[in-house]
């Protein structure tokens, strides 16, 4: 059957599957997937811890919020990709630069969602705990943080999506392994099939992570700590 478009422009699904099988057989596929997942994992953990801690502190202390919020709002407006040249200048090509770019994409989403979550807890719950003899720690541990969890999970879910995108861009420029690197490297050889393998893999991993991990955790959190009493 005659081709409508050349293979290096848009390969047939069968050719993409063959390329997929080839990179699995030669070991490069799993090496790149692992490199990307490890980087994303490190960036996600670092951003989540810092974002939640700072978000809670900002929610508890108005002074800290007033000081950090304008700066964080400004930085949040900048695209993660804009930081790539500076990240390479500061940290060189490698894992630190990639982690920084991922951190930049996830951190602010987690921070602001945590802040909104803490601030959205009705004051009446705090007062109820204090009236019953609880101290400040009880309010934080049993009211504010659980009350903010649904927002935190929304931030984590969005952050994971943005972090995944930032990772691919960062790997294209500042790394020598990973799915982003695999896609970018394939262009030298006009391997559109490999580029599509990378794109489909990224989509599938993201879809699986979101649908199997983040959505159930978010639903569970909303059901447990949010405004609904039962899963509908």
């Amino acid at each position: 059957m005659a081709r409508l478009v050349p293979q290096n422009f848009l390969p047939a699904p069968y050719e993409v599957l063959v390329a997929w099988s080839d990179v699995i057989k030669d070991g490069s596929f799993f090496a790149n997937v692992v490199a990307s997942l490890v980087r994303l994992g490190i960036g996600f953990v670092v951003s989540t811890i810092l974002g939640i801690v700072l978000g809670v502190l900002m929610g508890l202390h108005r002074g800290i919020a007033d000081f950090i919020q304008p700066l964080a709002s400004f930085l949040n407006a900048l695209s993660g990709i804009a930081w790539v040249p500076l990240a390479i200048t500061w940290f060189g090509l490698g894992p630190v630069a990639v982690t920084f770019i991922i951190w930049n994409s996830i951190f602010f989403l987690v921070l602001f969602n945590t802040l909104v979550g803490i601030k959205s807890v009705p004051l009446i719950y705090e007062n109820a705990v204090l009236t019953l003899g609880g101290n400040r720690w009880h309010v934080i541990a049993h009211v504010l943080i659980p009350g903010a969890l649904p927002n935190m999970f929304t931030g984590l879910r969005m952050g994971m999506g943005f972090g995944w995108r930032a990772l691919i861009v960062a790997e294209m420029i500042a790394a020598s392994s990973g799915l982003g690197f695999m896609i970018f490297d394939a262009r030298y050889f006009q391997r559109a099939d490999l580029i599509l393998v990378g794109i489909v893999t990224i989509g599938l991993i993201w879809l699986a992570t979101d649908r199997l991990l983040l959505v159930p955790l978010e639903r569970w959190t909303i059901e447990r700590w949010g405004l609904v009493s039962k899963l509908q």
Partner: protein, 118 residues
């Protein structure tokens, strides 16, 4: 009754999905390595196995099912001195015994053979 069943099923999916996701991620991250380590012995020629216990450095021929590409070259260069490529075979000189064991844990390597000492 039916509503309860739907709620119970939905709740069950909330539990098994993260477990399944963790399993899939673990397979993606560790699967190839674990499989490679479990089958490492089958990739080493008997004389390589014997030499590992007696020699600190070995000269080996790494036989692949495909011509090595950039990814493989970088990996081999990081392990030791490459002596050249002949078709789908990579020759490596003065490779430490531990690194030969590490090499054998890669599922994409078909066979590791001992090079005659010159």
């Amino acid at each position: 009754m039916r509503a309860n069943l739907v709620i119970r099923r939905a709740r069950a999916s909330v539990v098994w999905r993260p477990v399944f996701a963790a399993f899939v991620l673990a397979v993606l991250i560790f699967g190839a390595g674990v499989y490679g380590d479990l089958t490492a012995g089958s990739r080493m020629a008997p004389e390589v196995n014997a030499a590992l216990n007696t020699q600190r450095y070995l000269g080996i021929a790494v036989v692949l099912d495909f011509p090595p590409e950039d990814f493989h070259m970088k990996y081999f260069q990081a392990l030791g001195t490459m002596g050249g490529v002949q078709g789908t075979t990579v020759l490596m000189r003065r490779i430490m015994a531990d690194q030969v064991r590490e090499l054998s844990g890669n599922y994409w390597i078909r066979r590791i053979e001992l090079l005659p000492t010159s």
